[in-house]
Symmetry: C2
Subunit: 133 residues, 2 copies
């Protein structure tokens, strides 16, 4: 099943905060953690992933901090989840290159319904943007 971890929560909270900032302003990891009760030492790590993904820009030095690099209306929840929780392998059967063999196993026939469920959940996450939160 799709795995939605806590890091996704932190990331969404932080992104939402950055999205509500005036143009040019930025927030440091410490400020984000204090204001929104995120784990002090985990916040920089979450932000770092968002930076390397190109969703957030970071400026170093005193007066440094993070600011959103893209339009909040263009950022989907699914994208954030993918960045922070890793790629969601919806069909674990397809590990390796033996897809043909896999499809004949009895187990996979009953697992396809789970894919339907996953698709439905992912559809919600794909549809919802940061601006809509």
């Amino acid at each position: 099943m799709i795995r939605l971890s806590r890091k996704a929560d932190y990331g969404l909270v932080a992104l939402k905060a950055l999205g509500g900032l005036p143009e040019g302003d930025s927030l440091s990891a410490r400020e984000l953690a204090e204001r929104f009760h995120l784990p002090q030492d985990l916040t920089p790590k979450v932000m770092a992933k968002l930076v390397t993904a190109g969703m957030v820009e970071a400026s170093m030095g005193k007066m440094g901090g993070y600011r959103l690099a893209r339009d909040p209306a263009d950022i989907t929840v699914a994208e954030v989840v993918r960045i922070l929780d890793g790629e969601q392998h919806i069909a674990p059967c397809q590990q390796g290159d033996l897809m043909g063999e896999c499809s004949r196993l009895e187990g996979c026939e009953i697992k396809s319904p789970l894919d339907t469920l996953n698709a439905a959940v992912m559809n919600v996450l794909e549809t919802m943007t940061l601006a809509q939160l």
Copy 2:
């Protein structure tokens, strides 16, 4: 965020299998595990939870096994998730009895959007029944 564990997967697969059974038939934990590649020793535990929840009936002894106790069209995915993954505390702020104080914290104001997201996901799970899988 909502936590969807692997046990929910196993439970749904097993329930789906039981739902497709002729009236009066049953499947043992070993059979379920072998046919659908579920962990051998974990399957009885998952089923036990479903039994105590009244969703599945178990008969002991030789020739024993599990059979569905309710109509598949009346079992929602959300209910299965609640049974196997525990109650989803959508608002972790409400721990303790100081709800009034909590609502004044700055962090909770930004967390309410996450509730919207949770509600959207839960809505999908509430809507989808076992029969629809």
